[in-house]
């Protein structure tokens, strides 16, 4: 029995088909596991291990290296606030402190209602909108404490579910392109190109 839902399973297979080696699909598959379960669960790890032909220990060890993967359950909305240099200069620390009160959870923890997890992040490459805020890795470009509270209100009311989809990346676009040709054909094309190039190089000499 597959742990992945049928639609996630299908997307997992699309992802696997993109890479010459199954292990290369590790990060995208972990993103899929997190999209389904909200975090990287043991069952998700086992599934990814089976798909990438690795072991659960290998998958866990890899996932732990990456900040975006949560190995414990998190809130429905993961709110990340950057306090790195540009955001520091624009009041990132103050906004983070404010968020602790308005979300009702300390940094790194989840609110009692299970709705929010608050994280202090490193630079999110949106420094012209400092201090930068992401919810489930969507930029919300909300920089003042008042605007932050308004955002929290909208999230609580479930009004932003389209702009802020569930955890995971590449949710709203299917990965349809990629590796259409049989591998043998690609290899022979490459060999032909190589030959042509060598011939041209010989000519120019």
């Amino acid at each position: 029995m597959s742990h992945f839902r049928i639609d996630i399973r299908q997307r997992a297979e699309e992802v696997l088909a993109l890479y010459p080696r199954p292990r290369s699909a590790m990060l995208p598959l972990l993103h899929l596991a997190q999209e389904q379960d909200g975090y990287i669960s043991d069952a998700g790890i086992a599934e990814v291990a089976a798909l990438t032909l690795t072991t659960p220990a290998d998958v866990r060890g890899t996932a732990l290296f990456y900040d975006m993967f949560h190995l414990e359950p998190v809130g429905k909305y993961v709110v990340g606030i950057c306090t790195n240099i540009a955001c520091l200069l624009a009041g990132g620390d103050e906004l983070l402190e404010h968020a602790v009160t308005s979300l009702g959870c300390p940094v790194g923890a989840t609110s009692n209602d299970g709705l929010f997890t608050l994280e202090e992040t490193e630079c999110l490459a949106d420094c012209d909108f400092a201090p930068c805020v992401q919810v489930n890795h969507r930029y919300v470009r909300t920089t003042t404490p008042d605007a932050f509270d308004a955002l929290v209100g909208q999230l609580r009311a479930g009004k932003l579910d389209h702009e802020v989809p569930n955890h995971g990346t590449l949710i709203r676009v299917r990965r349809t392109g990629g590796l259409h040709a049989p591998r043998a054909e690609v290899a022979s094309e490459r060999a032909a190109a190589r030959e042509q190039r060598e011939a041209r190089a010989a000519e120019t000499k």
Binding site: L18, Y19, P20, R21, R23, S24, A25, M26, L27, P28, L30, H31, T52, T54, G61, T62, F65, Y66, D67, M68, F69, T83, N84, I85, A86, L88, L89, E122, C123, L124, A125, D126, C127, D128, A130, Q134, N136, H137, R138, Y139, T169, L170, R172, V173, R174, R175, T176, G177, G178, L179, H180, A181, V186, E189, R190, A193, R194, R197, R200, A201
Partner: protein, 434 residues
Amino acid sequence: MATLTAPKIVSSRAEFADSHTLSRFLDTGGYVGLRKALTMFPEAVASEVDQASLLGRGGAGFPAGRKWSMLRKAPVSYLVVNGDESEPATFKDHFLVERDPHQLIEGVIIAAYALQVTTAYIFLRGEFALGLERVQQAVNDAYEHGALGRKIFGSDFSLDVIVHPGAGAYICGEETALIEALEGKRGFPRIKPPFFPAVTGLYGEPTVVNNVETMSNLPWIINNGGAAFAALGGGRSTGTRLFALAGRVNNPGVFEIEMVKNTFRDLIYDPALGGGVINDNKIKAIIPGGVSAPWFGPDMLDLPLGQDEVAEKGSMLGSGSIVVLDDATCVVRAAWRITKFFSRESCGQCTPCREGSGWIERAMYRIEHGGGRLEDIDLLLDLCDNIAPGLTWPPQQTTICVLGPSIPSSVHSAIQMFRDDFVAHVELGRCPHD
């Protein structure tokens, strides 16, 4: 006043709200460069790029043409595009992937054609959720349009492009760590030599790694010729560049301006660009090329924005990000935060980097939060010297990758330039700005 006469090479479409769509792309010259490239010999395409003398935009500034031709000995197997962009205060690739994903893909196809590779990977940091969607959509559209896949635009050239999401690790921007991540592993930089993935890269095969902005320049170069590109800018710094300006300025943002023809002052003060410092405050320091770079004082404001010009003064233009610190900024806090970043992001393979970053971070924290001692200041310098012996720039390499030796830059700069601020923290027993 800034010199703003140069054409917009990579940001021309940004003014349109739908700049990321295929229809806008095609209406504004999209794929013209690629169609032209496909009528040329691959070597001729590479030689245009060589003539343009396009310097890599990822940080190290290695000429793209040279990177490609150095590899002629062994045919390249893969092209990998670096869109990890996690260097603090760098946000130009973010702009490019969200605003003009098709331009990036056109550049990737041109580079792949020049290198005659049939598979290219675009690695984007996972936090670019929207960027990932847009680039993937653009890739899908490009397949539909015949610009990707088998026999591109009826030529003999075929290419597959795979969009690969990262998952939150600064170190994956280092090219060998990025390759490890592409292979589905932890992002541990590989031991050098070989120094270039071009020798041993993805799956052990020759691989070219180039930055998103480097790729995005290619359609224009093929359309207008390498010589036209080389005619812009000055010295080794040809063309234009996207500068990401952040910090204490009125109008932070991404600006495409000609290299060398403009100075730090132009970028920061021109009303069409940075628009001056907040509250007309005085500039205390500038961080010229990402937080790995040593800082400059206001005496460097008239330095031209060129790779060699900045290097000669002991820093680097790096990723093209510029942070302005004004006199309302606590430099101790700023340097502490930067060290905290490195300490969090060190992959942990090398002792000087793993342990050194933590030590420096804790000593900086102490000083900033009122628990510092005067001896800490010299202790910090000693720690810095242990990570990057001699504290020269570019630093001596003591570790597997250059993250380690970049750690001391900010702390060393801050102590050198503002020792009094450190002393004031210690003597007051708190941050004077609190």
